[in-house]
């Protein structure tokens, strides 16, 4: 059974359905796709009790507006665009019940670049090549292989309002660590190589000691940076066409780095000076044009621990139960009292 869930009133610049990505088909030329900020998507799924690889909506920058067509349990994670339901501010990183006919909108930007909306049960779209993600370039997956437009109606497999997944919250301090960076420059941790021989020592020095700015050439494929030019060795900028990994920092002939993201081509012929470590991809995904970034080298032998730490935060963090609170004014004889009533766990 499929239930109409969400109608698009304002689609914003780029709203797509994304899960954690399409794997196993890169050797045939199909891109990875998937949520740019997979930390936010996975937490959103956990909050509403979905498998972490379920598909959610990825919103890019401001202006979106959606109408709920049924009651549902949802969570909003990622960038803070001051989400409101019927004009009232709603909490982020928390699951809650939304009512049919209410409208959610995103009008002001506090920080970040991409918002995720996850719904209990996930979106009812076909799984193609093992994934629900939208592949924009090859035009398949997600909702009809494209970004959402006004009037589109998205469905969910069924309505499940089980209270186990309502009012769960991801701890504030962990959100803070990953997202509340305000306007501070991002230090992106990288491993060096794989194409080390294509760069001079001076080239590496430039990469690690300069500040770069994310240019206007940024999309789900990659972020082109602006800043000091990186020197190639006599081997030059070209390599025999090879695999492209997520977060690869490739440097074409002009010397300006490009960081490859989720929609990158599956192969490329530019030398890669470094690779952003997995836990930092999500942070990068929340940066936009004009944001400053610098690179810090980490030893490859340390990266497994950093990876495991991040996975622990995503999978093992205990979710808080938000206790609902009500205040009553009680009149006893002539005295007036304020009484606060809080839900408690009776199980």
């Amino acid at each position: 059974m499929s239930v109409p869930f969400l109608k698009v009133l304002q689609p914003g610049i780029l709203t797509t359905i994304q899960d954690t990505g399409r794997f196993g088909y890169q050797r045939l030329g199909y891109t990875q796709s998937g949520a740019m900020d997979d930390f936010a998507l996975r937490i959103g799924n956990r909050l509403v009790g979905n498998p972490e690889n379920e598909a959610g909506l990825e919103l890019t920058f401001l202006g979106e507006e959606f109408l709920f067509l049924c009651d549902a349990v949802i969570a909003v994670t990622g960038a803070d665009f001051c989400p409101e339901i019927n004009g009232n501010t709603i909490p982020m990183w928390q699951s809650f019940l939304v009512k049919k006919d209410s409208i959610i909108s995103f009008r002001n930007r506090k920080y970040g670049a991409r918002v995720y909306i996850c719904v209990r049960g996930g979106f009812d779209v076909p799984r193609i090549l093992n994934s629900k993600s939208t592949d924009l370039k090859s035009a398949f997956g997600g909702y009809m292989g494209r970004k959402l437009q006004s009037g589109d109606i998205l469905s969910i497999p069924g309505v499940d309002l089980a209270s186990d997944y309502i009012d769960k919250r991801f701890p504030e301090e962990l959100v803070y660590n990953n997202y509340r960076w305000q306007d501070q420059p991002l230090t992106t941790r990288v491993t060096l190589g794989p194409d080390r021989a294509n760069f001079t020592e001076e080239g590496y020095k430039t990469l690690l000691e300069s500040e770069y700015e994310i240019s206007e050439k940024l999309d789900r494929q990659g972020y082109q940076l602006a800043g000091p030019k990186i020197e190639h060795s006599s081997k030059g900028p070209n390599i025999i066409t090879n695999f492209t990994s997520l977060g690869a920092v490739q440097v074409p002939g002009a010397g300006v780095p490009i960081i490859l993201m989720k929609d990158r081509q599956t192969s490329g012929g530019y030398a890669k000076i470094a690779n952003v470590i997995s836990p930092d991809i999500s942070k990068l995904a929340q940066r936009g044009m004009g944001d400053k970034i610098s690179f810090e080298s980490v030893d490859i032998s340390q990266t497994r621990d950093l990876f495991i730490d991040q996975e622990k935060i995503i999978n093992k963090t205990e979710l808080d139960s938000v206790r609902r609170c009500f205040s009553f004014r009680v009149q006893v004889d002539d005295e007036s009292y304020i009484v606060k009533v809080e839900e408690v766990d009776c199980r």
């Binding site: 030329g29 090859s138 794989p194 066409t241 695999f243 990994s245 081509q265 599956t266 470590i277």
Partner: protein
């Protein structure tokens, strides 16, 4: 044979480099290793992508380590069975050469002091090895183009070349699997669809296969197209 090198591409990707050049023997070694690796069904391996000279293994560091993967690859390489390659898969690709189907055929023939017929003959004779698939779904990187047809790319790329175009650029020939800009010279067109996610095999060809071009007439081309349409309507 060159020594295999291991390069950590990222915190979750290992490159097994089988050589330095674009070379059939090196590429065959990549595929022999790929086959053996797949038989092992190693836990935590997310994706294995063969390229010209490397095998790129993506893994989940929660379940797997680069060290263990290197150990396995070392063992497999020592027992590398080159007979794995014996079954040669050749995909016949029908092509209408010249005219509106291949607008650059005449120019290319003149450039190389050949007749258009000779270009077609030379181009459709070999079985081209697909060294890897990348760039776009089903896009083959092939080797084996006859030296007489080697042609530098266009100085100014053609902004829109239709999907299915069969072309030559540098020392290579290819089939464009998506419509887009290209700096290659296009001498023909195939009615075959190289990438279709609705099919069980989402691409017509796979890395390691061979392609043999077969000249057909425009009338035959139309028959293919109709057949494809019928299939789509079922």
């Amino acid at each position: 044979m060159e020594e295999v090198q291991y390069i950590r591409a990222s915190d979750c990707a290992l490159i097994v480099s089988c050589g330095e050049d674009i070379d059939e023997a090196i590429n065959k070694k990549v595929y022999a290793l790929l086959k053996m690796l797949e038989k092992e069904q190693i836990k935590g391996v997310v994706e294995v992508v063969p390229t010209y000279r490397d095998l790129c293994i993506s893994y989940n560091p929660l379940e797997q380590t680069a060290g263990y993967l290197i150990e396995i690859c070392d063992r497999l390489i020592n027992n590398l069975d080159h007979e794995e390659e014996s079954e040669r898969k050749v995909v016949e690709v029908p092509v209408v050469y010249g005219g509106e189907y291949g607008p650059d055929l005449e120019y290319l023939a003149k450039l190389h002091d050949l007749t258009p017929e000779e270009v077609v003959e030379i181009h459709s004779t070999p079985e081209y090895r697909i060294y890897m698939v990348g760039f776009a779904p089903g896009f083959p990187y092939m080797g084996g183009l006859d030296e007489r047809l080697h042609t530098p790319r266009r100085e100014i790329p053609n902004p829109r070349v239709p999907s299915g175009s069969v072309g030559i650029g540098g020392k290579q020939t290819n089939v464009l699997t998506i419509t887009g800009p290209s700096g290659w010279w296009y001498i023909g067109m195939t009615p075959l669809v190289f990438a279709d996610v609705e099919k069980e095999d989402p691409t017509l060809i796979k890395p390691g296969y061979y392609i043999k071009f077969k000249p057909i007439t425009p009338e035959e081309y139309e028959l293919y197209t109709e057949k494809d349409t019928e299939k789509g309507e079922q």
